[in-house]
């Protein structure tokens, strides 16, 4: 018998805190092209290793290599780069607009631009995303009008959600973008339900659920995996692991071992891990998953390994809990820089064209911003009607709400 010991609670801590020099050299990053590509109908138990590896296409020289390469043509690659650049520019302008007091709140995608923009390209009209607040690339990759997004951010008179929702909580059914909720994880099981409905109706459409690393700890994550597994729902379960949930490092959600993708395998869901800063890898893996779902082979889980380079939101200062230079040290680099390098290596892009594209995109975003601001911002100009506050609680306004609206004098 061992000697009696007092127990102690294990509370995981990130390796680096403010003031430390981040060093990710011990993080195991497989070489681009080194991870195998299984057949579309592979049994989940035969690809457990893919949940512990990272599928990557772009190597350090910007070349696309290995079995997951070759999915995109020149035009698609250039378009992908432009979408990521658009998202980053859009973010920068909206961050500034928040600092200028034109809106109350914003959340940027800095460093995560590849994930949503590349993923959207594997969906077809009629498929449905159930996004979190950090997948605006799903809209921009469909050339969704930026001015409409800005109208929502400004809560102005043209806000499609009539000023009822916090900025960035978009909703756009026509673009397969489900209404964003502030409550984390809730949309994940809804995505599974949507996919079940598509199967019930013998449709061909698929759903995509989105969740961050931190929110995988929510109960609805578990519910989603159980339901997706039980009913073999045609859903892609996306986990965007950007290492951070506000100030909390991913180890608090996950513990010190395993991966988020590995959780899928406990439910018999084929689960892959992909370099989230590699547009080509994201696209290829998402396409594999979409094809599997469309062929009624059931759900797929994808963990995107990336890094939240910016603050959590405009209300957050990451310097309070992690080293300032941590994102520079992140071994998977910057998705836009890596894509740019690839296009140049491929001979279809130049520094000059990149600068020109940057200027064009900046103009587009500024034009949209001017137009949006002509409809008002949160504290000035056109505002949604106060009367509208009482609409859409129910399909028909019940008597007690009519009475309250009268009482409000609007």
């Amino acid at each position: 018998m061992s000697e009696e010991q007092r127990l102690h609670l294990h509370v995981p801590e990130p390796e680096f805190r403010p003031g430390d020099t981040p060093d990710f050299s011990n993080v195991n990053i497989p070489n681009a092209g080194s991870v195998r590509r299984p057949e579309i109908d592979v049994p989940p138990e035969e690809i457990r290793d893919l949940a512990y590896s990272i599928i990557r296409v772009l190597n350090r020289e910007g070349e696309a290599v290995g079995p997951w390469a070759g999915e995109l043509d020149d035009d698609q690659l250039i378009e992908g780069l432009r979408h990521m650049m658009t998202l980053r520019t859009f973010d920068a302008r909206m961050m500034m607009a928040q600092r200028q007091g034109k809106t109350s709140f914003y959340m940027q995608h800095l460093g995560e631009e590849a994930v949503s923009t590349a993923f959207q390209k594997v969906l077809v009209k009629g498929d449905m995303n159930f996004p979190t607040y950090r997948q605006a690339g799903l809209l921009l990759a469909q050339e969704y009008p930026m001015v409409k997004m800005m109208n929502q951010i400004y809560s102005n008179e043209e806000d499609p959600l009539h000023g009822r929702q916090l900025p960035i909580m978009y909703s756009e059914k026509e673009y397969g973008f489900f209404s964003i909720s502030g409550n984390l994880g809730t949309q994940y099981i809804q995505a599974v339900g949507w996919a079940m409905a598509s199967a019930i109706k013998h449709d061909t459409k698929i759903a995509a659920g989105w969740i961050g690393d931190g929110s995988t700890a929510e109960s609805d994550f578990h519910a989603s995996l159980v339901f997706a597994s039980t009913y073999k729902a045609p859903v892609i379960l996306n986990v965007v692991n950007n290492q951070w949930a506000i100030s909390t490092f991913q180890g608090i959600a996950k513990g010190g071992s395993g991966t988020f993708a590995a959780r899928g395998h406990g439910f018999g869901i084929p689960s892959l891990r992909v370099d989230g800063n590699d547009y080509l890898a994201v696209y290829a893996v998402a396409k594999w998953a979409a094809e599997r779902a469309r062929r009624n082979l059931g759900p797929v889980m994808i963990e995107y390994v990336t890094y939240r380079a910016g603050g959590h939101s405009t209300s957050d200062d990451p310097a309070a809990y992690r080293p300032k230079k941590e994102s520079d040290a992140w071994p998977l680099g910057d998705p836009i820089e890596r894509m740019k390098l690839h296009l140049i290596a491929r001979g279809i892009w130049t520094e000059a064209r990149h600068k020109q594209a940057e200027a064009e995109i900046r103009d587009q975003v500024l034009t949209a911003q001017k137009e949006a601001e002509s409809h008002g911002t949160l504290h000035s100009g056109g505002a949604p009607s106060a009367r509208d506050m009482f609409e859409d609680v129910y399909k028909e306004m019940p008597p007690h709400l009519r009475r309250q609206r009268q009482e409000a004098g609007i």
Partner: protein, 337 residues
Amino acid sequence: MSRMTMIQAIRDAMDVKMGQDEDVVVFGEDVGYFGGVFRCTQGLQEKYGRNRCFDTPINESGIVGAAIGMAAYGLRPCVEIQFADYVYPAYDQIVSEAARLRYRSAGDFTAPITIRMPTGGGIFGGQTHSQSPEAVFTQVSGLKVVVPSNPIDAKGLLIASIEDDDPVIFLEPKRLYNGPFDGHHEQPVTPWSKHELGEVPDGHYTVPLGKAKVTREGSAVTVLAYGTMVYVAEAAARETGIDAEIIDLRTLLPLDEETIIASVQKTGRCVVVHEATLTSGFGGELLSRVQETCFYHLEAPIIRVAGWDTPYPHAQEWDYFPGPARVGRALVKVMEA
């Protein structure tokens, strides 16, 4: 017309809607092959197939969350929570999602779902098979809350709920499943087959949501009740000889204030009864509304008779359940004031 228990009427409502509308799907724990622990979905899987009526994993948040996703697709799910006492894991999905989806998306997405759940006590169900959690739903903007008290209403209200384009919490008093119950537990129970409200119309009909029903006309005092307490109130009126006007609210949200106000302004007195605990129960809201709208007609303070502010006990069932004696005492008291 057919003789039906409340269970059969509820099953018939789902049968009618599943037959009429291919977008209606029914699911929950033990709901499929087995037909539900209370038999409310018996035969539906056999008739409509596993695609339309099926068993789910034991996960209430999953059941409601999946239903919301299906509704966003365009289906009309009618789901079951095995006991209202077990709805709490789904509370986030109900409050944060189903209730607000239309509002937050400006009508872009809606959640036309019905969430059925057996509710109420009087069956020695103890703490987790007896609760009446209606007040945790009536407080939520965007929900409708329905409580039937007999087979005819149960079928008509359930069809109306399934057809409604807003999320409906459908609370089924399980004490009334097989027959009316007036709180006299010492007496044998009368089955619905011997009751006029057990004669249920065949096929499709609705009982509109948001409309109360006067079950006993009277002139002395208005009793606001729903579910099992409708029969308890009737017994109390009978036994005290007080000419009470009894209103079965049927829908708690939105509330039929017109019927309530007309009655209280006529009688000048009001007693509110429910099984749920007193403090912050739905009775508090009823009392407020009556006080606000009928103040100058009131001849006595409004009295609430409710479950005590304790968890629902097992052995002390009949000391807890607000039976006809307690309601009767309230009727006498309000008449003496």
